[in-house]
């Protein structure tokens, strides 16, 4: 018996056709829920287009100036200098339009992730059963190789921006869910008791005690979500999402090391700017004031 089992395993034959079932599942969705996917897709498309056009409408000089001012305000003159150099480099190497598309995709995917991720995180913090159900799903979303989402996304939503954003949302949402939940759970029991002792309703407790105290942790989650979204929208160029990813992809196909370096560097610089800026908003006000005094 065991010999036969081992033999079968070594033969590499497919004993459990899990992949086939998944294929059938996606096909079933395509056949029966196409209308639902189309309407979700068109909402996402409208939203993402608006974000992208909005960003492109801003004159590059103005955007660079704003980035420098914000960089100076949050992190000081050294960072402002870095922002200036980085954005000029991107503009001079000719990647500005692609960078704006990538920024737009990242922004759209992040906003959608937060829109669903933060409420889900709050729910997880308040209800152990929801938490126990959601956790393995998050593990799955986060660790499944990112490319794998692109295929069903493209089948369900067609090629272009939408499948890229959908796959990105799935990949980038887990950190903000986890850290929102963690942040709320870490509010000390006496702080929650203080809220209750002074007569908080359940929603006052959430808005006036739990969320504000958890905010630095939640912002760390937002930061992680943005970073993961940025890395995923590059990969999403494989389904035609566009942006800097196109150049990266082209450099691989043409073995153009120079193009790969230029476009890759643009991604890295954008990532550093987004990371440091969002991180600076995560540091809570009282910590900042303590540092100053």
């Amino acid at each position: 018996m065991s010999d036969r089992f081992l033999g079968l395993m070594e033969s590499g034959r497919d004993m459990l056709p899990l992949g086939k079932w998944v294929n059938n599942g996606v096909k079933y969705l395509l056949d029966h829920s196409a209308a639902a996917f189309d309407s979700v897709g068109s909402v996402v498309e409208t939203f993402a287009t608006a974000v992208e056009h909005g960003l492109i409408a801003i004159p590059p000089a103005l955007l660079i100036a704003v980035a420098i001012v914000v960089g100076f305000w949050r992190l000081g003159w050294k960072f402002a200098l870095f922002v200036t150099a980085a954005l000029l480099l991107i503009a001079l190497t000719g990647f500005w339009p692609q960078k704006m598309v990538t920024l737009g995709l990242t922004l759209s995917a992040t906003i959608i992730s937060l829109l669903f991720g933060i409420p889900l995180g709050i729910l997880c913090a308040r209800n152990d059963k929801v938490n126990a159900t959601v956790r393995p799903v998050l593990d799955f979303m986060q660790t499944m190789p990112a490319f794998v989402y692109l295929i069903p996304a493209a089948m369900l939503f067609g090629l272009g921006r939408v499948p890229g954003i959908m796959a990105t949302v799935i990949f980038a949402m887990p950190p903000v869910v986890r850290l929102t939940s963690l942040g709320i759970r870490q509010v000390s029991s006496e702080q929650v008791e203080a809220g209750n002792a002074f007569g908080c309703t359940s929603s006052q407790l959430l808005w006036k005690v739990q969320l504000p105290i958890a905010m630095p942790t939640i912002m760390a989650g937002v930061n992680q979500t943005i970073m993961m979204a940025l890395s995923m929208v590059i990969i999403a160029s494989m389904v035609g999402a566009g942006g800097l990813g196109n150049d990266v992809l082209a450099s691989i196909q043409r073995l153009d090391i120079g193009l790969g370096f230029e476009s890759g560097l643009a991604v890295v610089l954008l990532a550093i700017i987004l990371d440091r800026l969002t991180e600076s908003f995560g540091v809570s006000r009282q910590t900042r004031e303590t540092r100053e005094s």
Binding site: S188, E190, Q191, A194, N196, G199, I213, S284, Q286, E289
Partner: protein, 346 residues
Amino acid sequence: MAEAKIQVRNLYKIFGRNSKLALDLLKKGQSKDEVFKQTGNVCGVNDVSFDVQEGEIYVLMGLSGSGKSTLIRLINRLVEPTAGQIRIDGVDIAALPQGDLMKWRRKHLAMVFQSFALMPHRSVLDNVAFGLDIAGGKKAERNETSMKVLKQVGLDAYAAKYPSQLSGGMQQRVGLARALAVDPDILLMDEAFSALDPLKRIEMQSLMLELQRDHKRTILFVSHDLEEALRIGTRIAIMEGGNLVQVGTAHEIITKPVNDYVRRFFKGVDTARYLTAADLMDSTLNGHSYNGGPKVPSSTMLPEAMKTVLGLDEPVGVVDEATDQVMGCMTPKSLLVKISQEARHV
């Protein structure tokens, strides 16, 4: 005597599932350990009844795990009672529906916590205004009230700072001010000064007594420090394993401890300070040996008694305040004998 402000009757708190079964077993007279073996439920507070008078500082004392923190949380139902009554001004808090309970907490019951439990995202002023904010007061009004209370605790200069910029003692002043700002008639203080260093602790106790002189509130104070209890407590209730084992004034606890558990708290505490002339006299030197020298009332405390006795060569008469009879005499020798007896605890 007037009706007590807080009346607690047969209060139980049993943690765990199946608490009703455990309650029945306890009521049938089984011990907590037997109940734990049978049901797996832990009894936090076991059939506790007591009264707190209006304007009194009632100190709940006990070692950790004695149920004192659970008991104080039962009063404002941060912990739900398993059975029993908590009557405040005649209203049974234990039976209030959630909505009414919330209103009660906003108006009548404020709490101060061991770890301060301030909100790090709110300025000192906004922390003090927290209770008023929750209750829905206008911003200008609640800031004015909060500023007034901050002045009372001596922190008005720090209104715009954040809690993390203050020392522990100052943070707890904010915690106290937050509780006072809602003008509650009952203050619940859970080990409120235990996290502070000894000097700051005494400073806070004095501040509290001073505030209490201006405006008498009913205070329920949890502590594990007998010195603190003796200093601030109108009465002291000692808890052991979820039961109240003794309730009395500082003097009663010191002179008539009911068991060794109570006596254990005396270790390292200068209990002699709380002795009165009645404890210090030699009662064999009664009215007959009293030769008409100076007299003091029986409630005279040790420092005063010492001053009187040491300044004179003759025995000092101790007079029963009710009957005006001489009960006995104090001599330097009688003082030394009684104080050396107390010193054995230390």
